[in-house]
C-alpha cells in the first residue's frame, strides 16, 4: 500500500521437509498456520508442554511495518511463560502516563499507576517485529516445534477427528493431516475464507493514517491523544513512543480518504510537519491507511479447526486489544490441547475455549466499538455530547471517566465459565474467580525473592495458606503452602486474595483462578481440578 519500501528486518530460510516426500500424508497432532505473534505463542506453549507442533508460514521474513506496538501486562505475563518477556521489557519503552487534549488545551492526564508488587509493568511499547523475532528465536530452541517458512496452505478439508491440508512450497505442493489445525493467519485469514466462514461486525467509515516516524524529539514517553487538534482540525491524533526513537502517529482522516494518495510520502510528510513543527527532522519508517473494523467469527472452532487472534476476531486499534487478546487466546487453548492430546480428557474441553474466548472477544469488541464511536462520532448530536464531555472533563472529574480515547487492554474475566467452581463465600481483594492470577511478591523458605506467577507451574497449581497442619498432597497438582515453602512477607498475597490461614486457591495451567476455598480439603481440590478439565 505504501509507496516506499518496507524494511525486512529478519529473514528465515525455507527448508524442505521429509513430509513433502511422503507417499501418504503424514499426520501430526497439531499444525499451526501463521508465524505471527499468536501462532508463534501457540507453537511455543505447546512445544514447551512436550506436544509436537508444526508451524507453517506463507512468508519467510519479519519486518513488514510496526503494526501492534502496545503490549499489556497480561500479554507480558503470557510471554514470560514463553520465555521472551525479559527481552521485550528490556527493549520496550515502559510507559504509564497518558494525556488527552481538546484543541489547544490539555483536558486531563491519566497515570496507569501500576500497583507495586507485580513482576511485569503495566504496558510497554515495542514494535511487533521485535516481538516476533524474539518468539522465533525461542521457538527455534524447542525440539518439539518445527517451523516451515514459505509453506502456504491452499486447501483445507475436514477429516474424522482432524483436518487435511494442502501446502504450496517452492518445491511444489504436498499434503499433511493433523488432529488439530490452529489458524492464526490474521484478520484476512485465508483458512477462514477457504472454509467459507462468516466474519461479520461493524466497519467504521472513518479512515486513519498510521505512521511510524524516526526522530530525535523531546516528547516524553507518554501516550498523547488529541481531539480536534489545531494541527489537524476537526479530527483526532495520537502520538506514542516506541524504541529506537520511533514514534507512532495516528491521524484520523475521515471516510473519503484515498489510500493510495494518503500514504504517498509527499502527502504524509506535510501532515506530519503540521503536527510536529517545521523544524523537527524525521524519517518515515512505515505508513498505512486503516479502516477500523470490529468483527468476529460466529464460532471460533469448526470441527478440529480452531481460530485464534485476529483470524477469529478483529478490533480497532485504540485500546491495544488485538495482539494482547490474541496472546490470551493462545494461552487459553495450549493447555487444553495438551490435556486432550495426552489423553487426560476428551476433545470437548475445547468447547470451553469457544465459551471463554468468544466472551472475551465480545468484551474487547464492546470496548473497541465504544472507543471508536467516541473518537469518531457518528452524528451531530453524538459529536455534541462528545465535545460536552471533553469540555466538562477540564472541570469535573466525572467527565474524565467518560472520555474514551481507548480503554487499555486488561484480561477478560471468564464469568460463569463451565470450568470453574462458584465461590461459596465472599472474598475481598482484587483477585477474582475466573480472572487471571493477580501477581504478588513472595519469598521462598530460604528467603529468595520470587513472584506468585513464577510459582504457578505448567499444570494446575494450588496455593494454600498454612494453618498449622501441613496439607495433604493432591495427585497431579503442584502444591505450595504459604508459611511452609513460600512466604508472604509483604502481606500482598493475603491482601490481594483475601487469604486467611487455611485458604486455598486453585489456578489453571493458564494461571486463571478456577476455585478457592476457606479450608484445605484435598478431595474438594481434586474435584475442582477434574471439573476444570471436564468436557463442556
Amino acid at each position: 500500500m505504501a509507496a516506499f519500501e518496507n524494511k525486512s528486518l529478519y529473514q528465515y530460510e525455507y527448508q524442505r521437509s521429509p513430509d513433502q516426500d511422503a507417499k501418504v500424508p503424514v499426520r501430526h497432532p497439531v499444525v499451526v498456520i501463521g508465524a505471527g505473534p499468536i501462532g508463534l505463542a501457540v507453537a511455543i506453549d505447546l512445544a514447551q508442554r512436550d506436544v509436537p507442533v508444526v508451524l507453517l508460514d506463507d512468508n519467510s521474513r519479519i519486518g513488514e511495518g510496526s503494526r501492534a506496538i502496545c503490549f499489556s501486562k497480561r500479554a507480558l505475563e503470557v510471554c514470560d511463560k514463553l520465555g521472551v518477556a525479559e527481552r521485550m521489557v528490556e527493549k520496550g519503552v515502559t510507559w504509564q502516563v497518558g494525556k488527552v487534549f481538546l484543541e489547544d488545551d490539555e483536558v486531563y492526564t491519566f497515570d496507569l499507576l501500576p500497583e507495586p508488587g507485580h513482576k511485569q509493568p503495566a504496558f510497554i511499547n515495542l514494535q511487533q517485529y521485535y516481538v516476533e523475532a524474539y518468539l522465533v528465536d525461542r521457538v527455534l530452541e524447542l525440539p518439539r516445534a518445527e517451523v516451515r517458512w514459505l509453506n502456504k496452505v491452499s486447501t483445507v478439508e475436514h477429516l474424522e477427528d482432524g483436518a487435511r491440508i494442502t501446502v504450496d512450497t517452492p518445491d511444489g505442493p504436498y499434503q499433511m493431516d493433523t488432529d488439530w489445525l490452529i489458524a492464526c493467519d490474521g484478520a484476512n485469514s485465508d483458512i477462514r475464507a477457504m472454509m467459507g466462514l462468516d466474519f461479520s461486525g461493524k466497519v467504521f467509515q472513518d479512515r486513519f493514517l498510521i505512521a511510524d516516524v524516526k526522530m530525535n524529539a523531546g516528547f516524553p514517553s507518554e501516550r498523547w491523544f488529541w481531539f480536534e487538534p489545531p494541527f489537524h482540525k476537526g479530527w483526532s491524533a495520537l502520538l506514542h513512543k516506541q524504541p529506537d526513537d520511533i514514534w507512532r502517529i495516528d491521524l484520523q482522516l475521515g471516510p473519503d480518504a484515498d489510500a493510495d494518495e494518503e500514504t504517498k510520502p509527499e502527502n504524509v510528510i506535510p501532515r506530519l510537519k503540521k503536527m510536529l513543527g517545521d523544524d523537527v527532522e524525521f524519517d518515515l519508517e512505515w505508513v498505512s491507511l486503516y479502516t477500523f473494523q470490529c468483527k468476529r467469527m460466529d464460532e471460533f472452532m469448526q470441527g478440529r479447526v480452531v481460530f485464534a487472534g485476529d483470524a477469529a476476531h478483529q478490533v480497532s486499534p485504540f485500546g491495544a486489544r488485538g495482539a494482547n487478546s490474541g496472546f490470551e487466546d493462545a494461552q487459553n487453548l495450549a493447555w487444553k490441547l495438551e490435556a486432550i492430546i495426552k489423553g487426560r480428557t476428551g476433545a470437548d474441553l475445547m468447547q470451553s475455549y469457544r465459551f471463554e474466548r468468544e466472551l472475551a472477544a465480545d468484551d474487547n469488541i464492546g470496548h473497541s466499538t465504544r472507543a471508536t464511536d467516541f473518537i469518531s462520532p457518528k452524528s451531530t448530536i453524538a459529536r455534541t455530547f462528545r465535545n460536552a464531555t471533553l469540555n466538562l472533563a477540564q472541570r469535573a472529574p466525572f467527565a474524565q471517566s467518560m472520555v474514551n480515547s481507548g480503554r487499555l487492554s486488561t484480561p477478560s474475566i471468564y464469568l460463569n465459565s463451565p470450568l470453574h467452581i462458584p465461590d461459596n463465600t465472599v472474598y475481598e481483594g482484587t483477585a477474582q474467580l475466573g480472572a487471571a492470577a493477580v501477581d504478588a511478591p513472595l519469598q521462598t523458605s530460604e528467603g529468595t525473592a520470587t513472584w506468585l506467577l513464577d510459582e504457578l507451574g505448567p499444570g494446575f497449581t494450588a496455593i494454600a495458606v498454612a494453618n498449622g497442619d501441613v496439607p495433604d498432597e493432591v495427585h497431579g497438582i503442584d502444591l505450595h503452602v504459604i508459611g511452609h515453602d513460600l512466604l508472604d512477607s509483604e502481606g500482598l498475597f493475603a491482601q490481594r486474595y483475601d487469604a486467611r490461614p487455611g485458604s486455598v486457591y486453585l489456578f489453571r495451567p493458564d494461571q486463571y483462578l478456577c476455585a478457592r476455598f476457606r479450608s484445605f480439603d484435598a478431595g474438594a481440590i481434586k474435584i475442582a481440578c477434574e471439573h476444570a478439565m471436564k468436557s463442556a
Partner: protein, 73 residues
Amino acid sequence: MTSLNINPNLADPDRCYTAIIDAHRGLKDDDSSELNARLVLILANHVGDREVLDEAIALARTGLAPITLPSEG
C-alpha cells in the same frame, strides 16, 4: 432498588423550569445544544444509577419515532 421518580419533586417547579430556559438565553443553537448535552451528563452522573437513567431515557423517548437510518455496512 430506586426507580425513576415521575411525581412532583421540586419545591418550585415554575422557577426551576424558567431557570433551565434562562440558561439558554443568548446562546446560538449550537451552543444551546452543547449546554443541553452538558446538563444531561452532569445530571446523569448526579443520579448515579443506571436503572434510573434507563427509565428516564425510555420516558424521554416515548412518542419520538426514529427515522430509518442507512445501514452502517
